[in-house]
């Protein structure tokens, strides 16, 4: 186990190094941030001074070396736009994205698993068919368009919920969270539902498929033959076994929710990391873009690792040390 974790972490370092190199090199080729940052009426000398101040006058390999040296000490450079460390800018926005992602996953799981269970246990009933048809719709609806429709219906027409922005926050352990007070939760609800919809369909379909597969297996027949109550068979025996693949998918999807928050945050003007990176791409704020990608990639790899470890705890048949990867 320990060796496994160690090997995975060393792979992480490699992936991060490659990502940084690719993104750094790629971004170097697009546009000149100085043109965007300085006053349009600035003359050549002022531009050169600005470039020198940002370290943009040096050749690319020197810029990259400076970046790597800084990165190894936890400094990913200063944002061109905010003139503060890029990592600091990102970490300030991170709680907003994370709370949105967690709320979305919570919605998807609490609604998705019961609906999937129902559809799996009664595959023929009209309600199940409606659930499954709804899940195909959920797959097909493009997230950003659903966001617009939610705004039209619930914010513009009905006026129940605020359309954009983030509500008042409460400080918890030094983090600013908005979902802990009613007013803030109102603001978070529409974006979270928007983000949850696709995952909800996925969880419904996965749960249903698992239930249908597992309920034919011998251990369920045996549990029924023992005369256990229906509730116990489903709630304990069946649920325990379908949880294994579900946990994997839910874990992996958490990462993808964080990535997809880019879209939802842009629509709802939610001040998270995703909106930050879109703005930074347009403003050619390279340090922030590179730092964002490194942070997200790192989170991703971490989530994957945790899911793998959880998997081995949930399913004793899986032995990580044996898995060559």
């Amino acid at each position: 186990m320990f060796v496994y974790v160690l090997r995975r972490l060393s792979q992480t370092a490699l992936v991060l190094a490659i990502t940084s190199l690719l993104v750094f090199g790629g971004l170097y080729l697009v546009g000149d941030p100085v043109e965007i940052l300085v006053n349009p009426s600035a003359d050549q000398i002022e531009k050169e001074r600005a470039a020198a101040a940002l370290g943009l006058d040096k050749p690319i390999h020197e810029q990259y070396l400076t970046f790597v040296k800084g990165a190894l000490t936890g400094n990913l450079g200063n944002s061109f736009v905010y003139a503060r460390p890029a990592l600091q800018v990102i970490f300030e926005r991170m709680p907003a994205t994370l709370e949105l992602a967690f709320l979305a996953m919570l919605i998807a799981v609490t609604i998705g698993i019961p609906l999937g269970l129902y559809a799996g246990l009664r595959p023929g009933s009209p309600v199940s068919k409606a659930i499954m048809a709804g899940s195909i719709l959920g797959f097909s609806l493009p997230t950003f368009w659903v966001g617009l429709i939610l705004i039209i219906v619930f914010a513009v027409q009905l006026g129940w919920l605020p359309s954009t922005g983030r509500g008042p926050t409460t400080e918890v352990l030094g983090l600013q969270l908005s979902i802990l007070n009613v007013e803030g939760l109102k603001y978070a609800l529409l974006p979270a539902i928007n983000l949850a919809l696709f995952k909800l369909s996925l969880i419904i379909r996965l749960t249903r498929a698992q239930v249908r597969e597992q309920s034919l297996l011998d251990y369920i027949k045996f549990a029924r033959a023992k005369g256990l109550s229906n509730r116990r068979v489903i709630g304990v025996h069946l649920l325990k076994n379908i949880m294994i693949p579900l946990v994997t998918v839910i874990g992996l999807e958490l990462g993808s929710v964080i990535a997809f928050a880019v879209v939802t945050e842009t629509i709802f003007a939610w001040p998270g990391m995703g909106k930050l990176v879109i703005d930074s791409i347009f403003q050619l704020d390279r340090p922030v873009v590179v730092a964002y990608l490194l942070v997200v990639v790192f989170m991703f790899i971490l989530i994957n690792l945790v899911v793998d470890l959880l998997y081995s705890i949930l399913d004793p048949r899986v032995r990580l040390a044996d898995v060559r990867s």
């Binding site: 993104v23 971004l27 080729l29 097909s140 493009p142």
Partner: protein, 303 residues
């Protein structure tokens, strides 16, 4: 009097593989509805110049006085804007028909290229094995670990705008799915007798891979392909909506929706909503067909 021999009815089991495939596919009414819808959409997109009431790219035809007209409004020269007009006075129906063309083009083209690259690499990995297989599958694993939107976002931030750029981004995102599917299908096929037979005939490796292995690994690839084309269309729309995809000169459905976003709050819903419905119907039709294809082509569910 001689009795005419009754022609064998399809129910007698005398069916060509295609006939069996078609009748199995037709079992689901929902899938047939999806197929009909898809055919209509594709035909509309292909025949856009003849069907659309207006050429949305011809700026001389546009009248700014007609901008943001609600659905059903009449233009000066008697043209009815069934779905209203956008901020430039462009007929939304025409813009949607042409936008569908762009969306489908991007989706199908990127799908075909990704399918070609991915399936060849995947089948080769299965056929050659060894170091080649390890390297290819390692890259596939790493790439599939990251969500498509993130990879596409990085690429487009670097590449910039344009139809070719977005196709590059979509191909990069998608090839790994095809490679993985093709490899697992080819791994199963590789040990079958017809491959042995082809080998003992002394056929070249390239011929075995291209003419024997690849065609037999095709059914699962087709299933993945339909799902991926729907994904590609949705992803392109999303990226265009974020302002990272296509240039505004040839708006796809995603860009049309994005253009209408600013008018949404003032109740001019049609500029965003109708292209969205067109996008939804396109993706839905492909997904319905894909769902049924998966059931019909899946050997485990063979009846």
């Amino acid at each position: 009097m001689s009795v005419l021999p009754t022609p064998p009815s399809p129910a007698d089991g005398v069916q060509t593989p295609w006939g069996r495939f078609a009748s199995q596919f037709a079992e689901s009414r929902l899938a047939m509805a999806g197929l009909v819808l898809l055919v209509v959409i594709v035909l509309t997109a292909l025949l856009a110049p003849w069907i659309a009431p207006q050429d949305p790219y011809d700026l001389t035809k546009l009248d700014l006085l007609d901008a943001r007209q609600p659905p059903g409004a009449q233009s000066m020269d008697g043209l009815t804007y069934w779905l209203g007009t956008d901020g430039q006075g462009r007929d939304m129906l025409s813009a949607i028909i042409y936008g569908m063309r762009v969306s489908l083009e991007v989706g199908v083209l990127s799908g075909v290229i990704a399918l070609s690259i991915g399936s060849v690499l995947g089948v080769l990995a299965a056929y050659l094995g060894g170091r080649f297989e390890q390297v290819v599958m390692r890259i596939v694993d790493i790439q599939l670990g990251f969500p498509a939107i993130l990879v596409a976002l990085i690429l487009l931030a670097v590449l910039g705008k344009g139809i070719d750029k977005i196709i590059i981004a979509l191909v990069t995102v998608q090839w790994a799915y095809y490679a993985r599917t093709a490899r697992s299908a080819a791994l199963v096929e590789r040990h079958k007798e017809y491959i042995e037979a082809a080998r003992s005939l002394g056929l070249s490796g390239a011929r075995i891979v291209l003419r024997h292995l690849l065609p037999n690994a095709l059914p699962p690839l087709i299933v993945v392909g339909t799902v991926q084309v729907a994904h590609a269309i949705a992803l392109e729309a999303t990226l265009s909506f974020l302002g990272l995809g296509l240039p505004p000169t040839e708006p796809s459905l995603g860009l049309l929706i994005s253009n209408g976003y600013e008018y949404l709050m003032s109740g001019k819903y049609w500029i965003s909503v109708y292209p969205g419905i067109a996008l939804l119907l396109t993706i839905l039709a492909i997904n319905l067909v894909g769902d049924q294809l998966r059931d019909v082509l899946n050997p485990r569910l063979a009846r």
